[in-house]
């Protein structure tokens, strides 16, 4: 049996007093990557931010178990230090904090300057490192900067919120490669320890990243689970409503 990385049990979440998620259940084993589909505004980001521990997202029911530990009471930074990392859909601008400072901070002293430079080059951020983080960044630049931070942070559970949206066709291959690096996809399956949960609308990321399971999140709950390629095909052909018929 593979080690369990993340277990979501009976989860319900409110944002600003409004219920967003309910009855969410799934499990991700170590080495696996799962994909999350769903129409706009149905709670995908909410789910990731809740796993990460952002204070705005109030868990009203259920449990989040990371490697056998219930992490619900832990603040974000402790979850990060336990090994959970996330790339945000819309990260904030922090004036005066340079991109290089962010990447360095993510490494928490574990990486040499040389390794950090390698990350900066691999993510094609050399021109951006002296700029304030996210300030005036293009959509694709934001995605690459988020991945650079994760590469420095090296989390074991990687939450990616639409890592390929707004990215051009050339850069999408780069993003795919970087995500594969993060998720140790080059290693044989039995040696992969890291897990991923990736939100995607287009599914382009599936061309690069080997994902095991897909979910459709609709009206605040998971209504379908299965092979991610098949789910994507169904959504493209018949829309999200068709997914309702798929009872797991």
């Amino acid at each position: 049996m593979a080690e369990t990385m993340l277990e979501i049990k009976d989860l319900a979440v409110e944002v600003a007093g409004r219920p967003i998620l309910h009855d969410v259940n799934f499990t991700i084993n170590a080495g696996e990557t799962h994909v999350l589909f769903g129409p706009n505004g149905n709670g995908k980001t909410t789910l990731l931010m809740t796993i990460m521990g952002a204070p705005r997202y109030k868990v009203t029911r259920g449990r989040i178990i990371f490697r056998d530990q219930d992490i619900l009471s832990l603040p974000m930074d402790e979850r990060a230090r336990l090994g959970i990392g996330m790339s945000m859909q819309r990260p904030p601008v922090v004036r005066g904090v340079k991109t290089r400072d962010m990447v360095t901070a993510c490494a928490r002293g574990r990486e040499s300057d040389e390794e950090l430079n390698t990350i900066v080059q691999a993510t094609n951020l050399t021109e951006l490192v002296e700029r304030d983080i996210n300030y005036g960044f293009s959509g694709g630049e934001i995605k690459r900067s988020e991945l650079a931070q994760l590469l420095a942070q090296k989390p074991d559970l990687i939450l990616l919120d639409e890592p390929e949206s707004g990215v051009d066709l050339v850069n999408i291959a780069l993003i795919g490669r970087l995500i594969n690096d993060l998720l140790q996809k080059k290693q044989p399956i039995r040696d992969r320890k890291r897990s991923g949960l990736v939100i995607t609308h287009t599914g382009h990321i599936l061309d690069y990243v080997d994902a095991r399971t897909g979910y459709v999140l609709l009206d605040g709950t998971i209504i379908c689970e299965g092979d991610p390629h098949e789910i994507l095909k169904t959504i493209v052909k018949k829309g999200y409503q068709e997914c309702r018929k798929c009872v797991t």
């Binding site: 990460m52 952002a54 204070p55 603040p75 974000m76 930074d77 990060a80 230090r81 990392g85 996330m86 945000m88 990260p91 904030p92 922090v94 004036r95 005066g96 904090v97 340079k98 400072d101 962010m102 901070a105 993510c106 928490r108 304030d132 931070q149 942070q153």
Partner: protein, 411 residues
């Protein structure tokens, strides 16, 4: 020949303003302070200075142990210039008393950039002269390293009176770092400092000033800058330590065409500090540009951050950026950016923001594994970071270091 007549009228003018309150800042009763100071002996060898004084100077950016990275040094303690030296033939560094003896023409530079009757503090400096520094770059002269100047108050209860004249002759380039400080005993004292800058055609001055007062010091600097064609004036001001009350509002008059003026200020007010700080730029010369940037943080003190740009000539451009952060406690920040345009074809703008650190930004850094305190410190450091251009090597690093050293005290 010194013009005794004009000197007399100056004194007369000063007398009429002897009790005139300043436009801004709380009124200081000058009679609470002593105005005369005993002579402090000259130090040929600065390493003989008392250790605590050296330490205070170092924290204000003035290094006395190794002056190889300096083009000159002048140190005034109370009312005595205790050391002055220039290591470059094209840069003059001496006390204003000496300079007045040496140059007849110098008197004409007095009270041209600052009005003698502006308020009781300028009047006081005229009526109770207590020395000051004279720094001049000869035509075409360039200071390789900064000239450092230190104004140090050692005597308890002294109202230190200082009148500085700084001249960059045509085509010259002068970098100055001034550290203003007191003895570490934290006794009551006052500093009244008039500084008049003259930037001739095509000349450039960068003026970095680090204030390192005590919680018992009242401070009233009075600064004026006159900039001729193509002149550049870059001011960097840093105060990270407590002060009782501080009010300053330097005025740059850009009379020449195509001048560049930039004021950067980094201001931190701990509890008990009361600061009213501004920068004013009058753009009278065609094509002149200015930028006023201030970052203010209160951890309990009160800050008024002013900025004023006036455009009176075609094609002038000015931008004022004033950002304040209320970090903790019962602090106040009052940002007052003002723009005045008197002509079509000018371009003046400002942005001001006062608030606390955005929670969203703290969370972003916490998401990467930084604790709340680490995240806050990183954001504050970023907030205080201002890109400073036009300084010789080492100086911008030194400003950065001063800020980082002081961060520990208020975070």
């Amino acid at each position: 020949m010194r013009d005794l007549n004009s000197e007399k009228t100056r004194k007369e003018k000063a007398k009429t303003a002897a009790v005139k309150q300043a436009r801004f800042g709380n009124d200081i009763d000058l009679n609470r302070y002593e105005h005369a100071a005993e002579n402090v002996p000259y130090y040929e060898d600065l390493s003989k200075l008392p250790g605590d004084a050296r330490q205070q100077m170092l924290q204000s950016g003035v290094t006395v142990d190794d002056v190889r990275q300096r083009s000159g040094t002048i140190i005034q303690m109370d009312h005595s210039v205790i050391h002055s030296l220039s290591s470059q033939a094209d840069i003059e560094v001496m006390s204003t008393q000496k300079a007045l003896e040496k140059y007849d023409w110098l008197a004409a530079y007095y009270w041209k950039a600052v009005a003698v009757d502006a308020d009781k503090y300028t009047a006081h400096v005229e009526l109770n002269p207590g020395n000051g520094y004279f720094i001049r770059a000869l035509p075409g002269g360039k200071s390789t390293f900064p000239v450092q100047a230190c104004l140090y108050i050692g005597k308890k209860n002294l109202a230190q009176s200082v009148h500085n004249i700084i001249i960059a002759e045509e085509g010259s380039e002068l970098h100055i770092i001034t550290g203003c400080t007191t003895s570490p005993r934290e006794e009551p004292a006052m500093h009244l400092g008039v500084s008049e800058f003259y930037i001739k055609k095509g000349a450039k001055i960068s003026f970095t000033m680090i204030h390192n007062w005590s919680p018992e010091t009242d401070v009233r600097p009075r600064t004026g800058i006159i900039i001729e064609d193509g002149g550049i004036y870059l001011s960097n001001y840093v105060i990270m330590k407590p002060v009782k009350s501080l009010q300053a509002n330097p005025l740059a008059r850009c009379i020449g065409e195509n001048t560049v003026t930039r004021f950067n200020s980094i201001v931190v007010a701990p509890p008990g500090s009361n600061m009213d700080l501004g920068s004013q730029v009058i753009l009278d010369g065609k094509g002149s540009r200015t930028e006023i940037i201030s970052r203010a943080i209160t951890t309990g003190g009160s800050i008024t951050a002013r900025g004023y740009i006036e455009g009176n000539a075609p094609d002038v451009k000015g931008h004022l950026e004033c950002r304040g952060l209320i970090l903790k406690g019962e602090g106040h920040i009052h940002a007052i950016p003002e723009l005045k345009g008197n002509l079509a074809g000018i371009d003046l703008s400002h942005e001001a923001a006062v608030g606390k650190i955005a929670e969203e930004e703290v969370e972003y850094l916490m998401m990467r594994g930084l604790t709340r305190d680490e995240a806050t410190a990183t954001i504050v450091r970023g907030f205080l970071h201002v890109d400073i251009e036009g300084l010789p090597p080492g100086l911008s690093q030194q400003i950065k270091q001063t800020i980082e050293d002081a961060e520990k005290d208020f975070m």
